[in-house]
Structures are given as structure tokens and as C-alpha cells.
């Protein structure tokens, strides 16, 4: 089992989730209003009123063999819009 952590700007969230669904991700969880420090500097909710928003954190658990198709769908979005993704092993309880 693999765990994929994706952090993107909120405006791109809908597109990222669409790509995950198309790539056959079995499911995902979304945490909005994620703030902190990224490559572009401080990320805050200060511009939330404009639709610019903070970041979103998307967590995907999937089988190892599904990871390649998910990565193929997600990588172009991350490289075009910015954002990061990390993969780790996971074990169900």
C-alpha cells in the first residue's frame, strides 16, 4: 500500500482531484486552508476572499501498482502550476 501526499494551491484543487479520479485513484482526502512556507514564500489565507486561497493537502492511499498511472496524471499539473508530491509506504491498521 502506498500513501501519496500532494500539496497544491487551492485554485488548482479541482483539476488535481479530476486528474486523480481519471487516473483511477480509489479515493482521496482533502484538507483545505493549508498555510505555511513554500517555494514561493509564505502561504496564508489572506487572499482567500479573492479565490486565490491558501494551499490544499490531498492524501491518496492506493495499491503500489496504481501509483504509476496516478503519478503520470499528476506530474504535469505539479510541474505546470507548481506544488509538491511525496510517496511513502503505508500499512492499514
Amino acid at each position: 500500500m502506498k500513501r501519496l501526499d500532494l500539496i497544491v494551491a487551492e485554485p488548482e484543487l479541482e483539476r488535481l482531484c479530476g486528474a486523480l479520479r481519471q487516473a483511477g485513484a480509489p479515493g482521496y482526502s482533502v484538507m483545505r486552508h493549508v498555510t505555511g512556507l513554500g517555494h514561493g514564500g509564505t502561504v496564508s489565507e489572506g487572499m482567500d476572499f479573492s479565490g486565490f486561497g491558501a494551499n490544499a493537502h490531498v492524501i491518496v492511499f492506493c495499491e503500489a501498482q496504481q501509483l504509476e498511472s496516478i503519478a503520470l496524471a499528476v506530474r504535469p499539473l505539479l510541474s505546470h502550476y507548481g506544488g509538491v508530491g511525496f510517496v511513502a509506504d503505508a500499512e492499514p491498521l
Binding site: A9, P11, E12, R15, H33, G40, G41, S44, E45, G46, M47, D48, F49, S50, G51, F52, A54, P76, L77, S79, H80, Y81, G82
Partner: protein, 328 residues
């Protein structure tokens, strides 16, 4: 310039609350407004101004002056981003020049609303159709911005937004939708349900001034936070952010004089030309031109041009137009 105009504007509750927000950042206060509230107030202000504008548009009708003013507003919305791009391109790459130019080609609804409040305090009348001009000037710059990128930058293949997505973002983003929708609802209700409009007034008119003041408190905080990023923007962009409103307002004044707009409408027209978007355009540019640095187009429009316009610009434009347009 008449110093009483500046003082009257500077000491009005909305501008003072804006200053308080700025001060809270400078003094490192823990003042913070929870994220959903500014969005709520922003939508409320657009709804209220749209309703009022629609009602007044219904009463005044679409005469020759209305059509000419709206046409001129659209022409400025096309001209300003192109001329701004040519200036900005001397220092920035195509992506950043286009994104900043799009912000300055579009408008700031809150600056417009502050100008309306300023006119109200001076008892200078203005027409509701100017809200239609506001609504129509918001979107074209987004399209011009992307056109400038497509024409000037090498084509990149990627998962970017196509034209359908861009048009959807430009014309159906939440602020444009609420503003245009409220304008239409205001016009229809004024024509067919005046009693319904009267029931809306406690919400859409009596709360308006307080909501504007509260929203400007948050804008002061956000603008203050953005001012910290000025070092990144550089001297050229700082100069552009402070000089472009003056040049665009002067162009707006020239158009207002040719169209023989009354003082109130002329000020609103100048403010529309002079203001820069920090709501619709940044969100659209983020999606359509992700290569551009948001610090540049948000910091310049929100951290510099917006405070300049609401504190100094509005009374300055009023003083300038009083030299050319007599009071009615």
C-alpha cells in the same frame, strides 16, 4: 488641490478602518479576521452595489449617454492592458508583464464603492449605469492578458486552461457572476416588484457602510502584509503602481470631458480606469499564466495602487475633474 477633499476622505470611517488594518500589521498586532468573513463581505458589497445599480439603471433607462459611456468603458478596458503591457515589457518577461497589465486593465470594485461613498459624503449625484460599466470592465483584461501571452511567448504544451476554461473563468468567476446577477435582479425587481426591493433595502443599503468599513479593515491587513513583499517587486514596479493610476485617471478624465459626463459619473469613470484588480484577475492569472509571479501582480495592485487610490487618488481625481467639469 482642495485640502478639505483629502481630509474628508482620509477621515471617513472606511479609510480610517483601512488605516487601522495597515497599522495592525506595522505594530505586529494579533488582529486577524477569519478567512470566510472577508469573502462574505466582498460578495455582500458586490450584491448590494449590483442591486442598487440595477434599480437605478431601470429608472434611468438606456439612453445615448449610457451606451456611449459603457462603450468607452469597454474601450478603456481593452486599451489600458495593452499600453500597460508595452511599458511593463521593457523590464519584465512576457508572463509577468501580461499578468500585471491584466490587473491594471481590470478594475477594483471596492475602490469604485469607496468612490461612491466619497461622492455620497459630498452630495454629488452619480448614475446607476456606472455599475454596468464596472461589471463590463472586469473581464476583458483577463482575455487581453492571455492573448498577449499567446502572441508574445513561445507556445508551451501543458495542462493549461483552454479558451473555454479561460472564458468561463473570465465571465463566470464569483465576483462577476454576483455583480452582473445582482444588477439584473435589481433592474427586474425595480420594474416588477418594487415592494420586494423596498424589503431588501435594510440589508442592501443600511448595512452597506458598516460592511464596507469592516471589509476595508481586512484589506488594510492584507495590504500591509503585501507591503512587506515590496523588496521583491523592485523600484520599477513600485513606480508603475503609483504612476499608472494617475496616467489612466487622466485618460479617463479626457474621455469623461469628451462625453460630457457629470462630475459624479466622471469621478467613477476615472476611478474605473485608475484602479487595478486584486480579486478576479489574480485568480484568473494564477490559472491561465502560472509562469507569472503572483507577488508582482498582487503586491502592486493590492499593496500600492489600492491604498493610493482610496487614500490619495479619489480626492485628487475629484479636484482635477472640478477644473474641467462644472458642478450641475
Amino acid at each position: 488641490m482642495d485640502s478639505s477633499l483629502v481630509l474628508q476622505n482620509l477621515l471617513s470611517p472606511p479609510v480610517l478602518f483601512f488605516g487601522l488594518g495597515l497599522l495592525s500589521v506595522v505594530l505586529r498586532s494579533d488582529l486577524e479576521i477569519p478567512a470566510p468573513l472577508p469573502k462574505l463581505f466582498s460578495l455582500y458589497l458586490l450584491l448590494a452595489i449590483g442591486l442598487k445599480g440595477g434599480m437605478e439603471l431601470q429608472h434611468s433607462g438606456l439612453d445615448r449617454l449610457v451606451v456611449l459611456t459603457i462603450t468607452a468603458a469597454l474601450a478603456m478596458a481593452l486599451l489600458v492592458p495593452i499600453t500597460s503591457f508595452l511599458v511593463l515589457r521593457t523590464r519584465f518577461d512576457t508572463y509577468n508583464a501580461a499578468a500585471v497589465a491584466a490587473a491594471y486593465g481590470s478594475i477594483s470594485a471596492v475602490t469604485f464603492i469607496t468612490a461612491e461613498t466619497f461622492l455620497g459624503a459630498l452630495d454629488v449625484p452619480f448614475d446607476g449605469f456606472m455599475v454596468a460599466a464596472l461589471a463590463l470592465m472586469e473581464s476583458p483584461a483577463i482575455i487581453i492578458g492571455l492573448l498577449l501571452v499567446r502572441l508574445s511567448a513561445p507556445r508551451e504544451r501543458g495542462p493549461g486552461l483552454g479558451w473555454a476554461g479561460l472564458l468561463h473563468e473570465a465571465f463566470l468567476n464569483s465576483s462577476v457572476l454576483v455583480l452582473v446577477g445582482s444588477l439584473v435582479i435589481g433592474a427586474l425587481s425595480a420594474a416588477f416588484s418594487p415592494a420586494g426591493m423596498a424589503r431588501m433595502q435594510p440589508f442592501s443599503e443600511q448595512l452597506f457602510y458598516g460592511a464596507l468599513s469592516f471589509f476595508l479593515l481586512d484589506m488594510g491587513i492584507v495590504a500591509g502584509q503585501r507591503l512587506r513583499e515590496l523588496r521583491e517587486t523592485g523600484g520599477f514596479l513600485i513606480a508603475f503602481a503609483l504612476l499608472a493610476p494617475l496616467v489612466h485617471a487622466a485618460a479617463g478624465l479626457a474621455v469623461a470631458v469628451v462625453l460630457r459626463l457629470p462630475q459624479g459619473d466622471a469621478l467613477l469613470f476615472m476611478v474605473l480606469c485608475a484602479s487595478a484588480s486584486y480579486i478576479a484577475v489574480p485568480a484568473a492569472m494564477r490559472m491561465t499564466v502560472p509562469q507569472a509571479n503572483p507577488s508582482l501582480y498582487i503586491t502592486s495592485s493590492l499593496g500600492l495602487t489600492f491604498p493610493f487610490n482610496i487614500v490619495v487618488g479619489i480626492p485628487l481625481y475629484m479636484a482635477a475633474l472640478q477644473r474641467f467639469i462644472p458642478a450641475t
